[in-house]
Symmetry: C2
Amino acid sequence: MAHDERRLEVLRAIVQDYVSTNDPVGSKALAERHDLGVSPATIRNDMAVLEEQGYITQPHTSAGRVPTDKGYRLFVDRLSAVKPLSVAERRAIERFLDGAVDLHDVLSRSVRLLAQLTRQVAVVQYPTLSRSAVRHLEVVQLAAARLMLVLITDTGRVEQRIVDTPVDVDAGAVAELRTLLNAAFVGVKLVDAGQKVPDLLETAPPHLRGLVATVSATLLETLVEPSEDRLVIGGTANLARGNALDFPGSVRPLLEALEEQVVVLRLMSQVDASTVLVRIGEENAHEALTGASFVSVGYGSDDRALGGLGVVGPTRMDYPMNMAAVRAVARYVGHLLAES
Amino acid sequence: MAHDERRLEVLRAIVQDYVSTNDPVGSKALAERHDLGVSPATIRNDMAVLEEQGYITQPHTSAGRVPTDKGYRLFVDRLSAVKPLSVAERRAIERFLDGAVDLHDVLSRSVRLLAQLTRQVAVVQYPTLSRSAVRHLEVVQLAAARLMLVLITDTGRVEQRIVDTPVDVDAGAVAELRTLLNAAFVGVKLVDAGQKVPDLLETAPPHLRGLVATVSATLLETLVEPSEDRLVIGGTANLARGNALDFPGSVRPLLEALEEQVVVLRLMSQVDASTVLVRIGEENAHEALTGASFVSVGYGSDDRALGGLGVVGPTRMDYPMNMAAVRAVARYVGHLLAES
DNA sequence: CTTGGCACTCTGCCCGTGCGAGTGCCAACC
DNA sequence: GGTTGGCACTCGCACGGGCAGAGTGCCAAG
């Protein structure tokens, strides 16, 4: 059993060396840089076993070994300790995020911060609408038969929609409508908003029923369906760094996938606020993300993740560092959003 | 004088060939592909003159010629006709942008569209706040002494700020405040909002003066200063295409500059809605944009540009096409924003 | 002023070679 | 049985010479 343990130690050493040097690592170099207490020859034997088990591979016959996705997976799951951030880093987070003036500001600062901290591409999701609650609904009349509906959520998101009404509306009706809508929806989570509509229709004075129905329909249709989630992306410049080796073909498909947003949003949908989710290379089950790893976590209070944030980089990344950074930023963002 | 004309024709041919093939173009190829009516030898003579005048250059002895920034400039100013978009392209624009549901949707669709149309990086600026007018101001009470101020502009921008008040406020006061603010500011351009404040303070009932002063201060401070202009960027994947030749070093500094936004915003500040602005290579006077050209135009009605949009790409780009695309999209965005 | 001819200059590419890194295997050792 | 040093072997890669092609500048003739 002692062998097994040392073999894992060898794997850890390989991952660490490869991440920091970007060169396939050989048995001799390993023996020199880590005191594993055994000779290169022994390490070679261990490496042969690790390779057979699929944790490492060699790019070509006489080169050092490189971790496989499976190897990174084992490393992340069992071999890496969460590396706490330095005081300076924590302070940088605070300095960077304090003074944010609204939601968009918080998120765009976060994404910049995360990109800078990790030197990877950073991704931050807007608070999911469906999990947010209504703070206020505003109705603004644009024309006789055209209203603008403004939804303000407790997470600070503001969404607006134009509603064309079947008949002209007068100012009094607008005011009434506003009161009705707020009475019905304030404090209600958007995901539950649909259930309130029948009630609302019933209590509405008859002359407003039609209007309320039209407006509610727009509200539900466009705001409750989860499609409209948004992303802020930053640090793409980091892809143009050591890339040649990191991403086999080019960074193009990756950039395209990021801009597409859908792919990332799907990954994001799986996060919760308590554990950092790491998806490595092929695990992402998306062609463009092969060769890339995605480290993410939810932000918000523990009981409900408002949204997710994370970083995307080459599988050859410093997982403990990225996990720590992602978690720290998520915590801070969660606090900021909770108190505003 | 006939010589001069033909020389310009040669320059145009060089630009066109170089843009489409990405290879330095030689005299023989030129003679074959364009019927200039003269032999390669004559073209060589013209080329020698063009080179002496600084319009073209050769990467190394015995390679073809490549246009310089100055050469592109001449091409753009005098040698290129605006290439009208095809019907299919116009239709694509409509199809792509119709159905946009709010401002952000319009802009993010535009940026995607522009990136796709031009195969360059696209940049769209949010309507400048200072040039927008107030459509509605909303006051939402978050806590006894904390208000949220929501500004909705006639361009569809929605901005929010938290205001901490010196004393507790009751619901009645909030309603009064809302009425007062709207009466004072609706229809007023933000840039002129400052002038309305004295009036407002005077007409406000005494018990609200303090509140109004605090709120107005925040409004002016955070919303009127032009710093808070925002950009939407898309199509960065296009930088990772033929890049190796297009951008000498790497695309990294360019990506960084784009993310920084400041550089682009400064360039954007110079656009108006009537003419397409083209800045070529060194003209951008910014290190990261050396080797890049920036094609931009303002959108909005002719008399006031609400913001700008454009594309960034290698100096070796199809200027007529990009100029046409940028202008067409700007027109359409202008219409969309005007009617909502 | 234009044109064909010609010598010249470079770059890019192919290819063979040598070097170094790293491995796998084996026999000896603890 | 696991560990170790020795050793032959395999590749990839960097280096350098040689060759072909593209393009030029110049010149003399039309």
